[in-house]
């Protein structure tokens, strides 16, 4: 077989590319890290901030938490609560819909998937503005539950695709066997299918959680008074001009999510994300 992989020059080119992209990915994270931990005299207070600061401090963190303790705590729990509601609804609706879709004919299934996918094309702002008026009337404005209802729109189609993908790997015979043994449609779903689909369900749960944790557009329009963490970071870095606080909070938001991403990396794959669209 003709292969360029064994060519030593190609090998060098690969590693040059690897080093280049690793550098590009890590550089902004390095900047966040030195702003959060560097002494302000070498970072935000300097006209030319040091690329390699020599003085480090925990005072930035201490001041951020001392000054905004209550607000931060409220924002943290609001983000946490919203993300869990979003992920729970996503699994509840998404799992059932995915299973139902796997039973439909290909043509009808594709139409419903197209409808779900089409909903994700509608800009969040276009949806958020009319919803905010409705939520004001319903008393859902500025609440975690209302925000979660809106953010659900972004994650629900993706959840359905992800779980459909994992249902495909469940052998059909198992379900048929359960039915022959006298299980009803729903019994077979919960006792036989669900346990086998757990890996897909868990990854869908984490991915929805992550997307809600990160979401900004709905949050800033539907919950501006008691903000979530991303909105709080935005307000801190612009309105109050407090870069150090924003950097400390940013690190707080980022670390759990990077850990989650690495755990999820097995599931965040192109062929999962495009499942149902590729046809």
């Amino acid at each position: 077989m003709v292969s360029e992989y064994k060519n030593p020059r190609a090998k060098v080119a690969i590693y040059v590319g690897v080093v280049f992209f690793t550098f590009l990915v890590l550089l902004p994270l390095y900047v966040l890290f030195i702003i959060a931990f560097g002494s302000p005299s070498q970072t935000v207070a300097a006209y030319y901030p040091a690329l390699f600061p020599t003085k480090f401090t925990l005072a930035n963190f201490y001041n951020a938490f001392a000054g905004y303790g209550k607000i931060l705590e409220a924002a943290f729990f609001k983000s946490l609560e919203t993300a869990f509601i979003v992920a729970a609804i996503a699994i509840l609706l998404g799992f059932h819909a995915a299973f139902g879709l796997s039973k439909l004919s290909f043509k009808l299934g594709s139409i419903i998937i197209a409808l779900l996918f089409f909903s994700t094309m509608i800009p969040s702002i276009t949806i958020a503005i009319p919803i905010s008026a409705t939520f004001l009337k319903l008393g859902l404005y500025d609440s975690s539950l209302g925000l979660a209802f809106a953010q659900e729109l972004i994650v629900l189609p993706l959840t359905v695709f992800l779980i459909m993908g994992s249902l495909e790997s469940v052998p059909k015979q198992l379900e048929n066997q359960a039915r022959v043994d006298g299980a009803s449609f729903m019994q077979a779903l919960y006792t036989v299918i669900f346990p086998l689909a757990v890996p897909g369900v868990v990854s869908a749960f984490l991915l929805s959680w992550l997307m809600s944790w990160d979401e900004f557009t709905f949050a800033v329009i539907l919950s501006p008074v008691h903000p979530t963490l991303p909105v709080l970071i935005y307000l801190d870095s612009t309105a109050r001009g407090n870069i150090l606080t924003a950097a400390s909070f940013s690190l707080l938001v980022t670390i759990p999510v990077i850990v989650l991403t690495i755990i999820l990396s097995k599931f965040i794959k192109g062929n999962y994300l495009t499942a149902g669209i590729t046809g």
Binding site: Y48, E152, P230
Partner: protein, 281 residues
């Protein structure tokens, strides 16, 4: 009998999710379009549109197009390079693909804050870097071109991973024999890319274009921090007011209109070029 009941159960299982999307996505979108043509008393008017156009002109539309196109080009160039790297076997590929995925997990607003610090005019790291080479500090947010550069760089840093994953999924569907054959026939790297890789991946490229293109149109959090010029999203947000939302509805409708036009164009590209190639013709 059971078959008939099963298929009804299937419909009932899908119904909540379908209704959910219908009530929370489609109805508000229709509301936005409807209210954009009414005034606060509920009468028909075109005033909201003429108001938006008289305040903002067509710049937000043009700017949105410029940002979308440049960001997509940058992301696809990087993603093709990365996917080609990841499609080859080499030591440390697993670790490399984990590193590449990190920005996907970094929140959009955090990315915006980081790049805001890199590209601030006073005390920014980009100017600090230029200073080493004796280059005068640049006013990054002061001109359209430099702030566009900062914005698309930040956006591409965050979103290239997702494009890479989709393109990589497409690349792995291409048989290596095709490349071997082309190499025997003397095709060089560039010829192989344009004659084999691109046409065989048209379907996947269309999906990545669709997903990213629509998000680019909706670029918002990053633009608030990094881009002092109006886009359709930031324009709509600045019009937003809980007392009289009608001008904001006009902005929201214009944004929706352009997203739908873009989506239709991509669908057209996909049915025209994508399907034939993915069948291996």
């Amino acid at each position: 009998m059971t078959k008939w009941r099963d298929s009804w159960t299937a419909y009932i299982l899908i119904l909540p999710a379908a209704l959910y999307v219908l009530i929370l996505a489609f109805i508000p979108a229709i509301e936005a379009v409807y209210y954009s043509f009414t005034n606060i008393k509920g009468g028909y008017t075109l005033f909201n549109y003429s108001f938006v156009l008289s305040v903002f002109g067509t710049r937000p539309i043009v700017n949105t197009f410029i940002v979308t196109v440049t960001a997509l080009i940058l992301q696809f160039v990087f993603a093709f390079a990365l996917a080609s790297l990841l499609a080859k076997p080499f030591k440390g590929r697993g670790a490399f693909s984990a590193i590449i995925l990190i920005p996907f997990g970094v929140a959009t607003i955090v990315t915006a804050v980081i790049f805001h610090n890199i590209f601030s005019t006073y005390g920014g790291y980009a100017n600090s870097f230029l200073n080493i080479f004796g280059v005068k500090p640049l006013d990054w947010t002061g001109s359209f071109d430099t702030s566009l550069f900062a914005l698309i760089l930040a956006d591409s840093w965050k979103n290239t991973p997702i494009v890479t994953l989709i393109l990589l999924a497409g690349m792995t569907t291409i048989s290596p024999d095709l490349y071997s054959q082309a190499m025997v026939d003397g095709a060089n790297v560039i010829q192989r890319f344009f004659r084999i890789t691109l046409p065989n991946m048209a379907g996947f490229i269309a999906i990545a274009l669709m997903i990213r293109g629509i998000s680019e149109f909706n670029i918002f959090a990053m633009a608030l921090l990094l881009f002092p010029y109006q886009l359709l999203t930031t324009m709509t947000y600045s019009l937003y007011d809980t007392v009289n939302a009608h001008p904001a509805y006009a902005g929201a409708t214009i944004l929706l209109g352009f997203v739908l036009i873009f989506a239709t164009l991509i669908m057209f590209y996909r049915t025209r070029y994508g399907v034939g190639h993915s069948n291996g013709k």
